[in-house]
Each structure stands twice: as structure tokens, then as C-alpha cells.
């Protein structure tokens, strides 16, 4: 039900992001979603990849502090109000969202959004009962 996300610490200076993507490219790892949260000093690079364990090992080997986090991959209609619908459901269930970002790949007319929420179990129940589809790791691999 949850998707494994890799988070990497980066200093906010030229070439650091490329240093990470090179490590992954060298290992033939495919990135299907990516985002950066940054401050003036540092950033956190978050990614969904096809081979999380391998990616994690490669990034650590290269000396970057990294961790894995479980996130929700939620399907929304790729039309006005699509994302809002999912957010309304979470708000009504009183689940707060820590951050979200979108997938690079799409599934026909559907967009995929990654959510990091405070209470994942509760979020899953609320989204499902509202008829919103949640993708697992296998679903993402087959995209």
C-alpha cells in the first residue's frame, strides 16, 4: 500500500544534485518521481525509484546521508479539481499533509501524486472509502 521513498541530504551548492543523479544513472536506476525541498543552506532530495534498496546503497556509498520514508501514491483525475478532491477527503478525515509532489509518469488521463501524511493508515482508509485509488509498489513498477 505504501511506496518507498528515498530522501537524500544535499548542500545547497552547485553540482550536488547532479552528483546524486549520476550515482543513480551509473547503476541504471530509473527515477519515476523527484522533488527538492530546500532552504538557503541545504536541501532534501526526495525520489521514487524502481530499485529502492540498490539506490539507497549506492547513494550511501557515495557518502550522502539518506533515509527511506513510506509515502502514499494517490491517483487523481488529471483535470481541474482533481487534486483538490483528494485533499478535501484528507482534510475531512483530519489527516494533515506534510508534503506532496507528483509523478513524472502518468496513467492515461490520471495523474499520480505522492503524499507524505501524518497518519498514513487513517489517510488510506479515508481515501479508499471516497473511492480514490492508491497505488502500491507493484502498480508503479508496471506503469
Amino acid at each position: 500500500m505504501f511506496v518507498k521513498q528515498i530522501s537524500v541530504f544535499l548542500e545547497n551548492k552547485p553540482g550536488r544534485l547532479a552528483a546524486v543523479t549520476k550515482v543513480l544513472a551509473d547503476k541504471g536506476i530509473d527515477i519515476s518521481a523527484i522533488s527538492i525541498a530546500d532552504t538557503t543552506q541545504f536541501g532534501i532530495l526526495r525520489m521514487i525509484v524502481n530499485k529502492p534498496e540498490e539506490a539507497m546503497a549506492a547513494v550511501k556509498q557515495a557518502g550522502f546521508p539518506a533515509s527511506t520514508t513510506e509515502v502514499l501514491a494517490v491517483e487523481v483525475q488529471d483535470e481541474p479539481g482533481g487534486l483538490n478532491h483528494a485533499l478535501q477527503v484528507l482534510q475531512q478525515a483530519e489527516v494533515s499533509v506534510e508534503y506532496l509532489y507528483s509523478f513524472i509518469k502518468r496513467n492515461e488521463d490520471k495523474a499520480l501524486i505522492l503524499f507524505r501524511v501524518e497518519d498514513p493508515q487513517k489517510a488510506v482508509e479515508a481515501l479508499k472509502s471516497a473511492g480514490i485509488k492508491i497505488y502500491g509498489s507493484d502498480d508503479i513498477a508496471s506503469l
Binding site: F9, I44, P65, S67
Partner: protein, 432 residues
């Protein structure tokens, strides 16, 4: 276990009797053999016969590093060059190095002192001792080497550098005692990790680390990573080299070998003697040295001294783990700051590796201090907010402890330059 029980455990009365005889001999020696000492004593109207008790030490003038520089290279030697068999030199950051000379007897005494330290660390005739201090002009390598040979240990003279080969030898030859700088010990621990070697595959029991100040937290980390007992050793080339003082297995202060050195603690500004327990500058008089005796040498090292008996049975006084040097002391907006204090704060925060760098600058006539801290695996969090909290906590802990405002910067691991000898902890841009 002692190397020299009759000396290391002698009663205070016996010790003071010994010290007074030796002090008189030393003062006599420098007065008659070293023009600079004679001149300074004459200026104060003192003759060697004025030294009648140990208290009289206080009437003698101090000796400073500047005196060694002014008499470069061998002007303070109290023995003719025909008697000198070894020279060492400490690197001067500016100008000429400080040159020190040893007679055959000095070398033998120095080895005696280091042998005592090795025995404090559990060393015996069959112990494998790896000396990873640099060999050469620096006193660390050869000082330990001769001490370990005197003990009759199995010495591996690896010197510094080529760390992977060091680790291989350490593992294959079953090294039990490692002698190096504490920052190099940490570097070795990191190299072990990189090489995928578990500490249990090694036979290390004790580390004898010195030549730079290090904190209790750094000790904990080294002990854990290498699975050893880490002892602090103190020394400086102007006095003799490593082996002036060393921790016994109690790890509660460094026994200063009082049958060779008379310690004093003074206020570095007023130069007044301070009572036991109070922190100040360590001043040392050598009382059994021929080549380069020093009278009331200002070490610039900050510590305190205690004379309470130690459970180990040794009677020599103990100095507190060195807190820093008077010349490492940074004065930031009028506050005295030692890098080791910042290090303690960082590690008390519990989450940081001991890799940090202090950058001091002056912006608009105001001193600024930036603390770079490498983000460890433990410290890293997936949320910006949590990382910001770490930064703020470190800054506020430093403020609470030292009363100065700092900017904390989180940097990637291995950003801060590693040295295989002494760790560079401060960049002071104000001096440039």
C-alpha cells in the same frame, strides 16, 4: 602494574625531597651553562643557592616559547653538542621552528616515561604496539618508539599515513596498543568501516592518544568504534615530548611524572599561581634533563591539578584532561572560546559526528562565528523542519554554554578536510 613502582608510587615526602635535590641541580646547571638563564636570573638578583625549598621555585623567571625562538637554534642547550645525540623540532606556524636537543641520558629517561605510559595502558613485553604518530622531527613517533622498545614490546613503526595498510597490519599482526593522535584514531575507525572490517576482527585493547586536545565525547566515540580503552597522553617537545603525563586505567586525570617535572598552574594573565582544582595555564619545570632543561616553562595549555590519591596506587599528581591551549583560545566578541568547548556541545547534542569547523570572521567590525557540522546518518531527517530544529538546537546549546551567538551550517559528510595528523578546527579570517 607499574613500570617503575618505587618512583611512581613514592610518598609525597620522598618525592619532594627528590624534587628539591633535582631542582637545585637543574637551576645550577642552567645558571652555569646557559647564558640566557643566567642573564635572566642576574637581572632578578637570584643565584642558584637561593633555591632552598620547593617554594623558592616561584622566584625564578618564566621561560616561554619566545625564549626558545630568541635563542634559535641551540642557545638554550645546557649540554655541549658533543653530548647531544638527537634533535627534534616543532613546526612553527610562523618563522623558525623550535629546536630541542637530547643527551643520551635524556633519550633514556624519555623512553622510561613512555614505558610507564604504555604500562598504564596494559602494555607488557609481549604486547604489539603500533606507533602511528609521525616519525621524524615531530616527537610523537620516535618518542613512542623508544619507549615501546624500552618496555620490550613488539613495535610496529607505521608512522602516520597509508591508513588502509595500517589497518591491514593492525589486523594481521594483532596490534593491542595503538598510539596516535585522537583524530587519526577516528580516521582509522572510519577506514575500518570503509574496508568492511568489524572492530571484533581486531585485537586492539588500548589506545594512547595525544598531541592535540580531545573531549570526553570524542573518547566515547573512539572507544565504541574501536572497542578499546582510550587513554590521554600529554607532552610537548619543549619539555621532552609525549610522556610528560598520562592517564592510568582510571581515566580520571593524567598522572604527571613528578619525579621528572614540577607542575604549577598559573593565571595566564596575572601569572599568579593558582590553587589545586582551579583551571589555568600549566607551567612545567624539568628537573632531570641535560640537553634542554626548562625552568617554569609556559606551556600555554589550560588544565587544573589535583593531588588526591588515585585508586591505581600512583602518587604523582593528576592534571585534568587538557581543555585547550591559551593560543587556540578564540576571543569572540570579548568571550573566551576554546574549540573543544564547541566540540563538547556538539557531541552532547548526541547526534553529530565529531567533524566540525569553526569559521571566525569580522563583518562590520563585529566578530561572527559560523559552525560547520557534518550531517551524519543519525542526524539526517526527511523533513526540513527537523533539520532546522537540529541547527537551532546546536546554536542554542552553544549560546547557553558559552554565551555567544553562532550560525550553524549543516554540511555534507566529508566536506571538512580530514588530516591524518592534527585536526584543523578553526579558520580565523580576521587575521588575514
Amino acid at each position: 602494574m607499574y613500570w617503575n613502582k618505587s618512583r611512581e608510587c613514592m610518598s609525597r615526602d620522598e618525592l619532594e625531597f627528590h624534587q628539591l635535590q633535582k631542582l637545585k641541580e637543574t637551576v645550577d646547571r642552567v645558571y652555569h651553562n646557559v647564558e640566557s638563564y643566567r642573564h635572566k636570573m642576574q637581572q632578578k638578583g637570584i643565584i642558584p643557592e637561593d633555591i632552598k625549598s620547593l617554594e623558592d621555585l616561584k622566584i625564578l623567571p618564566f621561560t616561554t616559547k619566545q625564549d626558545l625562538r630568541d635563542n634559535y637554534p641551540t642557545g638554550l642547550f645546557a649540554a655541549p653538542l658533543s653530548e647531544i645525540i638527537r634533535i627534534h623540532a616543532s613546526s612553527g606556524t610562523t618563522g623558525k621552528p623550535t629546536v630541542v636537543g637530547y643527551t643520551r641520558r635524556d633519550i633514556s629517561n624519555w623512553a622510561e616515561l613512555v614505558a610507564r605510559c604504555l604500562v598504564m595502558g596494559g602494555g607488557r613485553r609481549d604486547t604489539v604496539v603500533q606507533v602511528s604518530y609521525g616519525y621524524g622531527l615531530f616527537t610523537g613517533g620516535l618518542g613512542f618508539h623508544y619507549g615501546a622498545e624500552k618496555l620490550g614490546a613488539v613495535v610496529i613503526p607505521t608512522s602516520g599515513g597509508n591508513t588502509r595498510r595500517q589497518v591491514m597490519l593492525m589486523k594481521d599482526l594483532k596490534t593491542e596498543i595503538l598510539a596516535c593522535t585522537p583524530s587519526y584514531a577516528l580516521y582509522i575507525a572510519e577506514t575500518l568501516e570503509e574496508m568492511g572490517i568489524n572492530r571484533d576482527e581486531l585485537h586492539l585493547k588500548t589506545g594512547i592518544f595525544g598531541a592535540e586536545p580531545w573531549t570526553e565525547n570524542m573518547r566515547k566515540e573512539i572507544q565504541e568504534k574501536l572497542g578499546i580503552k582510550a587513554l590521554d597522553i600529554y607532552g610537548l617537545s619543549e619539555v621532552i615530548g609525549p610522556g610528560v603525563a598520562c592517564e592510568c586505567s582510571e581515566q580520571n586525570g593524567l598522572h604527571i611524572f613528578e619525579d621528572f617535572f614540577i607542575p604549577e598552574i598559573i593565571d595566564p594573565i596575572t601569572e599568579e599561581p593558582l590553587p589545586p582544582g582551579e583551571k589555568g595555564e600549566l607551567v612545567i619545570t624539568t628537573i632531570d634533563k641535560e640537553g634542554l632543561p626548562v625552568i617554569r616553562y609556559r606551556t600555554r595549555d589550560i588544565t587544573s591539578i589535583k593531588y588526591e590519591p588515585c585508586p591505581c596506587g600512583r602518587t604523582h599528581a593528576r592534571i585534568e584532561k587538557l581543555l585547550g591551549r591559551t593560543d587556540d583560545m578564540l576571543i569572540i566578541r570579548g568571550v573566551n572560546v576554546f574549540p573543544s568547548q564547541i566540540e563538547s556541545v556538539l557531541m552532547a547534542a548526541g547526534e553529530t559526528e565529531p567533524h566540525y569547523l569553526l569559521i571566525v570572521d569580522r563583518v562590520d567590525n563585529l566578530d561572527s562565528l559560523e559552525v560547520w557540522v557534518e550531517v551524519s546518518e543519525k542526524l539526517f531527517a526527511d523533513e526540513v523542519r527537523k533539520l532546522e530544529d537540529v541547527r537551532k538546537k546546536i546554536a542554542s546549546d552553544i549560546y547557553t554554554t558559552l554565551g555567544i551567538t553562532v550560525n550553524v551550517r549543516l554540511v555534507e559528510p566529508h566536506t571538512i578536510e580530514r588530516s591524518e595528523g592534527k585536526a584543523k578546527r578553526v579558520i580565523d579570517k580576521r587575521k588575514m
